[in-house]
């Protein structure tokens, strides 16, 4: 018995020591493995002659294990670089990533995290501590495609270079934003086409007044023809998806910080915002805006859509809400940007066309050169298409290899759509997969729906699109201050928007509202963002 006890005590002591020494051990390992930097071929494939294996951390969407994905298998054969994939569910990726950083086994590459998991603040923090490797030199020497891309697109370079001049992560870049869904900052608003036909509406509203009148007609004239006044002219789940479109009618691009001609402002304290609230309050009072807007769930919204009870609604594509087949969705026109007497020019807030935090190399990585060459291919048009559509023989095959034309293969059994099948072939599905996003649907005839979307974007978004605020980096101190201000600010503004719209808080309290926000240190908040914008604008 005595011996057992002593043994236990020894075990505990040993444990404590182990816990204390753990970090040192790892450092030694790291040094040892770093020495094993493989010989990297300057260009072409394979990247390394002698096969190497790296570990990759990436968010998984839970459809197919990465080691079984054909695209990654084919690319591993091409490059001679094998990977061990660690892919926690994307919802929990941030937790796992932080644990990995804390315990020192973060893997060699962080792939597809995106800004919500590998935040700009984390890039700055970890970059400064050398946990993330600066990439600009590696790009210069080993990544011709990226180098070319950054030269052609100075806006991309500006947005991925941190305050200290280093690049710590690569973005997802859309080759062409204009005219594609990549330009959407959020899903658009859609009109119920059946109702428009029923009421004989030929021309979509172009001003807030016309919009109001149409919603009124939706409400009063029984467009779904069931004899009941159960029509909901406009709806959303909270205001998040429809707000950008409606605020834009009053001349604002963002519910928060935006920039106009170099001047940064915080829109929720501007007079235009009061006009927006007044207008929305009117819609709410007259039951043109769904009374359940602030309390319903996404499922309830969809159920109303499938019941043909809604007139104007937000979603990525209208058929997601209405439940119609895709080809019928061409009858639901996209919202045309509205104007008011004060804001006569239509505006549509659009996306910056890139997502940061998509690819980083960590200090653990023994082969940074090989790693940057590995990712570089995806920043070419050919590589971007390869990543998205997979190797030949699955989704597609060559129709005429000489001419470079492809044709689509038939879907294997058990898949409902080519997207479902694609999700099993490539990681570029549902995550921020680092690449140059190119037009991938090049198999000849487009569907009616694709043509419809393209023409809607052409007519209703492209001519009026503006980016509200560029992607910037803050310094550590600025970030701290912004975090402190934002927590209170965001929930206050969100609450008050709902209260003003529903009339719980009368608009006569507007001045108090602005006053309260000023007390939350809004001046400082704007100042920090102005400084960040100025740095961005001046950088080359």
């Amino acid at each position: 018995m005595n011996r057992t006890f002593k043994l236990l005590l020894t075990a505990i002591v040993a444990l404590l020591l182990l816990a204390a020494c753990g970090s040192d051990d790892e450092k030694v390992n790291k040094e040892a493995s770093k020495a094993a930097n493989a010989e990297v071929n300057k260009e072409g494939f394979p990247i390394v002659d002698e096969e190497i294996e790296l570990t990759m951390m990436a968010p998984g969407v839970g459809i197919e294990e990465w080691k079984n994905m054909e695209t990654l298998k084919a690319y591993a054969d091409m490059t001679n670089i094998q990977f061990k994939y660690v892919t926690p569910p994307s919802d929990d990726f941030q937790t796992k990533l932080n644990l990995a950083f804390a315990s020192g086994d973060v893997g060699d590459i962080i792939y597809g995290a995106g800004t919500s998991d590998l935040t700009p603040a984390m890039e700055v923090d970890y970059g400064q501590q050398d946990v993330l490797v600066p990439l600009e030199k590696l790009i210069e020497e080993h990544a011709p495609n990226l180098k070319k891309l950054l030269e052609e697109r100075p806006d991309v370079k500006k947005s991925i270079t941190t305050v200290d001049g280093h690049i710590y992560s690569l973005p997802v870049v859309n080759a062409e934003t204009e005219g594609t869904t990549a330009s959407w900052a959020t899903g658009p608003l859609w009109y119920n086409g059946k109702w428009l036909d029923e009421l004989g509406v030929k021309e979509l509203p172009k001003t807030t007044d016309e919009f109001y009148k149409l919603l009124k007609r939706f409400k009063d004239e029984d467009p779904n023809g069931n004899g009941e006044a159960d029509e909901i002219p406009l709806l959303d789940v909270k205001m998040n998806s429809s707000r950008p479109w409606l605020m834009a009618a009053f001349g604002m691009k963002e519910w928060g910080i935006e920039e106009n001609d170099g001047q940064v402002r915080y829109t929720p304290i501007e007079p235009e915002y009061k006009d927006y609230l007044t207008y929305m309050n009117k819609l709410y009072e007259e039951k043109l805006l769904d009374p359940e807007t602030f309390s319903q769930s996404d499922e309830q919204k969809k159920a109303k859509g499938e019941d043909n009870r809604i007139g104007v609604f937000p979603d990525w594509f209208s058929y997601f809400t209405t439940g119609e087949p895709e080809e019928d969705a061409v009858n639901n026109p996209m919202f045309y940007p509205l104007t008011t007497d004060e804001s006569k020019e239509p505006i549509v807030p659009i996306s910056t066309g890139m997502t940061r935090g998509a690819f980083s190399i960590t200090e653990n990585n023994p082969n940074p050169e090989a790693s940057i060459r590995w990712i570089d291919y995806f920043y070419s048009e050919e590589g971007g298409a390869f990543l998205n559509q997979g190797p030949e023989g699955f989704l597609w095959e060559w129709d005429d290899k000489e001419a470079g034309t492809k044709k689509k293969n038939d879907l294997p059994d058990g898949y409902d759509s080519s997207e479902d099948y694609r999700a099993t072939l490539t990681p570029d599905y549902g995550i921020a997969a680092p690449a140059l996003k190119v037009e991938t649907d090049v198999y000849g005839d487009k569907t009616k729906f694709e043509d419809f979307i393209a023409s809607e974007i052409e007519n209703k978004i492209a001519p009026f699109g503006e980016v509200p605020f560029p992607l910037v980096y803050l310094t550590t101190d600025e970030q701290k201050e912004v975090n402190t201000i934002e927590v209170d600010l965001e929930s206050y503004v969100e609450q008050m928007e709902a209260k003003f719209i529903t009339g719980v808080e009368p608009l006569s309290n507007w001045d108090n509202y602005v006053e309260t926000i000023k007390k939350m240190n809004i001046e400082k908040y704007i100042e920090i963002n102005q400084a960040a914008y100025d740095r961005w604008a001046e950088s080359d």
Partner: protein
Amino acid sequence: MNTAISETKTDKMIKTFIYIFLSLALIGVLYPVIYIISASISNPADVNSGKMWLFPKGITLEGYKIIFENSDIWRGYLNTIFYTVLGTSINLAVTIPAAYALSRKDLVGRNLLMGIFVLTMFFSGGLIPTYLVVKSLGMIDTIWALVLPNAAAVWNIVIARVFFQSSVPVELEESAKIDGASNFKIFFKIILPLSAPIIAVMALFYGVGHWNEYFNALIYLSDKAKFPLQLVLREILVLQEMTTENTQISGSMAEAMHSKQQLAAIIKYGVMIVSTLPIIVAYPFLQRHFVQGVMIGSLKG
């Protein structure tokens, strides 16, 4: 003062009242339970629009078909059963003896030990240091990471201790001691046989905890073959909770979310039934042990 007749009258009234109360509780709870069962075989659109409110509408077994065809779910099921059995056994082996010892008034330092245990309810080093301890013990990606870092719960130790204090007659211990029985003997020969109700309760509390557990699995496991049921389900439904507030959303994400949402709508309720049925069915079996009062009486007599 009461006559025999009026006694039975009040007794009857009370009895009726009790049955009415129980029936009300039953109906109040039964409705949502039936709702979930009906929803699991109804068309999701009818459920969400409020058209399905009691009996199934637009009956479809699509959800169950998807669940039963998914091999990951079955593997997760087996893993969960294994973790639950192993984990609960460890829990009981740690909790019951400790709770018994702490219930003994003649144990020097029991308040101090209790204090040491209770303190951990309030102050914890947090996720990262705990992770580092588990890592330094070499338990990452092993089953031990699922059963050892939660080998005991203060709450349950306290409850078991109260049971021993209030339900085990001190005289039993005293007389055994006078007979010269050691503490081991008292515990195994006298206490354990009397402890069926508390062992059943502890097994249930811990077992349910292991059954629903996903967080430790998420943190400590990366080998999918070891994933418990709840983590498998989480992976299947993961994008469902992603909101539109996530700003950088792309076309492929939107479509991925949409197809996940549709899948989730179909299997959401079925998954809940399939994943909790075993543990609900287990309850009546454990309940039997709650009728142990007889034994205490017989032993005493």
